[in-house]
């Protein structure tokens, strides 16, 4: 279980401290899928980075299964079971897809095991496994490889920062299948997905609405979702085309 207690985060804006997360409290139980939605600039991605340890909170606590992990770095948190899927995947000159998946898995995956992860994200594995994770891959391909690394990692708590960004409509269903298979295959695993896509909100157990650095509302899907339909916090799949 992940708990955020009175979590605050400030950034230095032209010499002045500007608080963008204000005393936030949130709890994500094991086996639950929580979607955090809300308007752009509301602090969603910052919150995701605070959980992964990429940013350090200015106040408050982060607890994982009761252990205070606030002072731990990215590596220690990863080793304790926190996974993170980037909104904008990183490119690496020279590092192959296979190597990246092996690092993620923490062991020498066989080529066919590695290929299975690529197949799960809808990539024809043999074409990709030996390619470099560099600029020759399209944004959509990179994003799917990013999700494959998270699959290979198999963390108990995975944070996805806008997983649908950069993914075409065809693979949207695929993405939802990936979330479902992670829940089934990783024991007691929980997930936090940052998204304002209606279809992703639809598979949530719980929804939290983050606005202006505060949790505006939180509850089970059926309670929170209806009020969000048609707002910026719950866009349909075509919204990006408009």
């Amino acid at each position: 279980m992940l708990e955020l207690k009175n979590l605050s985060f400030s950034v230095d804006a032209e010499g002045e401290q500007k608080e963008i997360i204000h005393g936030l409290n949130l709890r994500v139980e094991d086996r639950k899928l929580m979607v955090i939605t809300g308007p752009n600039g509301g602090g969603k991605s910052t919150l995701a980075r605070l959980i992964a340890g990429i940013e350090t909170p200015t106040a408050g606590q982060i607890l994982l299964d009761g252990e205070d992990i606030t002072g731990l770095g990215i590596t220690e948190r990863a080793r304790r079971g926190i996974g993170f899927a980037f909104q904008q995947p990183v490119r690496f000159k020279g590092l192959s897809v296979l190597r990246l998946l092996r690092i993620a898995a923490g062991k020498d995956l066989s080529v066919s095991e590695a290929c299975n992860y690529l197949a799960e994200v809808g990539l024809y594995a043999r074409d990709y496994i030996h390619r470099e994770v560099n600029a020759s891959l399209s944004g959509g391909e990179l994003k799917r490889i990013e999700i494959a690394t998270v699959l290979a990692r198999g963390s108990r708590l995975t944070v996805f920062d806008e997983p649908e960004a950069g993914i075409d409509l065809w693979s949207f269903q695929n993405l939802i299948r990936v979330f479902q298979s992670m829940r089934e295959n990783i024991r007691d695993s929980a997930m936090i997905i940052i998204s304002h896509q209606e279809r992703i909100l639809n598979i949530a157990d719980e929804i939290a609405v983050l606005s202006g650095g505060r949790i505006e509302r939180q509850g089970i899907r059926d309670e929170v979702f209806p009020a969000l339909v048609g707002t910026e916090a719950a866009q349909d799949a075509c919204a990006r085309l408009k």
């Binding site: 990429i54 990215i74 690496f92 000159k93 020279g94 590092l95």
Partner: protein, 308 residues
């Protein structure tokens, strides 16, 4: 037969990936003298009469054979200049593995300057692999100044892989190539410098005749206070294609100077150069750390991949 000390065997494993005597032709040079040689029906190795080096003659049509010519220096204060000439017959298809390892535990400089000349026959195909490596904790420097000259006949093809990853204090590499009609040259250089090392790499590739192609790519990492200069010039004298690229990671207090240049002397010469220098991106480190690596492990992984 081959008589090598343990240090020399270790150096040979580093520079030629050899753990035992190779198949095919070879010439092992250790501390300025011959340590072992083997020739085959198609590949002859002859010492130059004045003792300045060797001639390697590969018969026309020789297929799938290899030549290993590693050099090791394990005595401090040794300085040598060696001329090796390769004559690759028409239509041959061979792999040549060279490399130099220096172990200097003493206080005097050790230096090996190898001058390799390749005469690549018509339609011949050569894969050339060269590794440089240094070890030893003496105050004496480990110095390597290789000169490579490549003369390619019509339709010849040569791929050169050159790596210097560790332990060489000072190196000045000069590579000159002249290509005739439809000849093809590919160079992949990998370089890592650390400490106060200095590495200069100069290429001059002349595409003399129609249909020639050259692709010279260097990837390098400069750490600590080391200095690197990459100076690659491609000259097009006919309808041809040339590409040169230098891609570097800079770390610590390293210095990298990239000087790619192109000279077109024909309206149909298509020449391109690219050069990029930058540090390891913070996001790359963060991504690998979210996969459980420490920052140091992530950095090592990124460098290893980059130089692979």
């Amino acid at each position: 037969m081959l008589e090598l000390t343990e240090v020399q065997k270790r150096l040979i494993a580093e520079v030629a990936d050899l753990h035992k005597v190779p198949m095919g032709a070879y010439n092992f040079r250790a501390n300025g003298g011959l340590a072992g040689r083997n020739t085959t029906a198609n590949i002859d190795i002859i010492s130059k009469p004045d003792g300045s080096g060797i001639d390697i003659r590969i018969a026309p049509g020789t297929k799938n054979e290899s030549v290993h010519i590693p050099v090791v220096l394990s005595e401090s204060g040794l300085k040598e200049t060696v001329y090796n000439d390769f004559y690759i017959g028409e239509g041959a298809d061979v792999t040549i593995v060279a490399g130099c390892g220096i172990d200097n535990c003493g206080n005097q400089d050790s230096q090996h300057d190898g001058i390799h000349r390749f005469y690549v026959g018509k339609n011949a195909k050569v894969k050339y692999v060269e590794k440089h490596y240094g070890s030893g904790d003496g105050l004496g420097k480990r110095i390597l100044n290789p000169v490579t000259e490549v003369y390619m006949e019509e339709g010849g093809s040569m791929e050169m892989e050159m790596a210097q990853i560790k332990g060489v204090d000072s190196t000045e590499r000069t590579t000159l190539a002249e290509l005739k009609k439809d000849a093809r040259l590919v160079v992949r250089e990998r370089l890592m410098t650390h400490g106060e090392q200095k590495a200069l790499s100069v290429y001059k590739v002349v595409l003399q005749e129609e249909g020639g192609t050259a692709d010279v790519v260097s990837r390098s990492v400069a750490r600590d206070k080391s200095y690197q200069k990459f100076d690659a010039c491609v000259i097009g004298n006919a309808k041809c294609k040339g590409h040169t690229e230098c891609d570097s990671i800079i770390m610590d207090e390293g210095t990298i100077l990239a000087v790619p240049s192109l000279e077109a002397r024909h309206v149909d010469a298509e020449l391109v150069h690219e050069a990029a220098i930058g540090k390891i991106a913070g996001e790359q480190l963060i991504k690998l750390m979210t996969l459980g690596l420490t920052e140091a492990e992530a950095e090592a992984e990124i460098i290893e991949g980059f130089l692979a």
